[in-house]
């Protein structure tokens, strides 16, 4: 079975020649759930941007990013733009920066429907309402008529998810999608994401610094550090004590710091 998305020897260099990513390789099967975890400066977000062809000015990517065998790194800009959003959709940490403050949520969801699926008028509106219900924005009419600032952080992230899923992508790339949310809202959005992956069959790449969060939604795991892949393993194997010392360190730190002491209290 060939992978749906595979990253091969991906290297990203700045204009001054510094390597931000160094020979990153991993692959994702159709319907797979891959977590990419690392601390700040590990290159995890840069990997996501490179996959999407959204690297900051002056940075150069080499290697291959194969989507169904087609190399996204060498696609002409127009075909890349079609793949991005159409085949590979994304959700970022702060939905406020991903949403247009001057446009109602409804128009923002119908935007990609028009662009990628050619839906117009009533058909587009009906589909937007279906997507809003899909992400459990149950007060659909009101939400679609609202501006982003009128919604809570959790509602905004649901809108961002609805937009991402609008074109029935094959891969959903989520970069710290719950990091800016309150912990109770985070739990709801993680449940939703879990459910959406199950129901739509979209393959998930979940990029985060937060191991307990990724353990909730991912099955496979890529551990990154200093622009390199330390280990490509499964979540279960990593938690049972990964092969790499750094993975064990990361798991140990997460257990020590994010674990709720069962007995409670200090010392």
């Amino acid at each position: 079975m060939t992978a749906l998305l595979s990253v091969e020897d991906l290297t990203v260099t700045t204009s001054t020649g510094r390597r931000i990513l160094d020979g990153v390789s991993w692959s994702l099967d159709a319907g797979g759930r891959l977590g990419v975890v690392g601390e700040s400066g590990s290159g995890k977000s840069m990997t996501a941007l490179a996959v999407l062809g959204l690297l900051p000015e002056g940075m150069r990517a080499t290697g291959r990013v194969l989507l169904d065998g087609e190399d996204l790194l060498t696609l002409p800009p127009r075909r890349l733009a079609k793949a991005r959003g159409g085949q590979v959709a994304m959700v970022f940490q702060e939905p406020l920066t991903a949403l247009d403050p001057l446009m109602t949520v409804g128009r923002q969801i119908t935007g990609p429907l028009r662009l990628h699926r050619g839906l117009r008028g009533g058909a587009a509106r009906d589909e937007a309402a279906r997507l809003a219900r899909l992400v459990h924005l149950d007060d659909t009419e009101r939400i679609l008529g609202s501006y982003p600032w009128q919604l809570s952080g959790g509602q905004r992230q649901r809108v961002a998810l609805a937009m991402a899923l609008a074109c029935e992508p094959r891969v959903l790339l989520a970069d710290e999608p719950t990091t800016a949310l309150d912990v109770t809202v985070q739990a709801e959005v993680l449940d939703l994401l879990d459910d959406l992956v199950d129901r739509t069959g979209v393959a998930l790449v979940f990029v985060t610094h937060d191991l307990p969060v990724v353990a909730r939604v991912a099955r496979d795991l890529v551990v990154m550090r200093d622009g390199r892949v330390v280990e490509h393993t499964s979540v279960g194997a990593a938690l049972a004590g990964g092969e790499a010392a750094y993975t064990r360190e990361l798991v140990g730190a997460a257990r020590a710091v994010t674990g709720l002491p069962t007995s409670g209290g200090p010392r």
Partner: protein, 252 residues
């Protein structure tokens, strides 16, 4: 019985129609550690500003060692400023990038006109947070996030406060560094007999560090008690929801 170091009594703080604090009472006893947990909009930052005397209540009272702060007694405020020191979330924005670390750490000594050899005190507190005295001549940008938070803690310790009020002190740090800073705060509190007030959205960090836990929700205290019993046997539905939402690594 001596009065608590800090005490909020039925504090109400409104902003327009919003009641950010809706009758909050919290006692911080000398030498103890209290964690104030809440999500966004819970009022935890507003409460923190009240305890640091950076803001006044709309109703109710904040007391420092039994004396109400409302009277704007300048002598009292000056004592509080020296005795109650804040540590903020992001050392990148709380440390002046143009000042050398030595000057940053000595800053409260200067502004509070603390007598004595400031250079010596700076070296002492840098050592206390596990930094080499040589770092005094460097700039904050030359340090990692964890080291910068150590510098911020050293600055807070400089005027020999008895209370540290920490606002999300580890939330901006990588997980591997978070544990070290939590351990440092715990060690300092024990060694120097500090009173610790920790404000955080992260109930796991509060669980590591604080003897008592106060849960805030919509500007009210919904639950309060020894951390062990709040975590193990939460009485309120909201606390249970909060605890259940914390992502946990499955055991092996």
């Amino acid at each position: 019985m001596t009065a608590p170091v800090l005490e909020a009594v039925d504090v109400v703080r409104t902003f327009g129609a919003t009641r950010a604090l809706d009758g909050v009472s919290v006692r911080v006893e000398a030498g103890r550690s209290v964690g104030i947990v809440g999500e966004s909009g819970s009022g935890k930052s507003t409460l923190l500003r009240q305890l640091l005397a950076l803001d006044s209540p709309t109703a109710g009272e904040v007391r420092y060692r039994g004396e109400p702060l409302a009277r704007r007694d300048r002598g009292l405020l000056r004592r509080l400023r020296a005795d109650v020191q804040p540590v903020f979330q992001d050392p990148r924005s709380s440390l002046d990038p143009r000042m050398r670390v030595g000057a940053v750490v000595a800053e409260p000594l200067r502004s509070l006109k603390v007598p004595g050899d400031h250079r010596e005190r700076v070296a002492e507190v840098l050592a206390a947070v596990g930094l080499d005295p040589d770092v005094a001549s460097r700039y904050p940008a030359q340090f990692s996030g964890g080291q910068r938070q150590r510098i911020a803690i050293a600055r807070a310790l400089a005027p020999r406060p008895s209370v540290l009020v920490a606002d999300e002190p580890v939330s901006a740090l990588d997980v591997s560094v978070r544990g070290q800073v939590v351990d440092l705060l715990q060690r300092l509190a024990a060694e120097q007999g500090l009173t610790l007030v920790l404000v955080s959205h992260d109930i796991a960090i509060v669980g590591r560090l604080c003897e008592r836990t106060v849960v805030l929700h919509h500007g009210r205290v919904v639950e309060e008690g020894p951390t062990a019993s709040v975590l193990a046997d939460p009485q309120e539905a909201y606390t249970r929801r909060l605890l259940a939402a914390v992502p946990q690594l499955p055991g092996v």
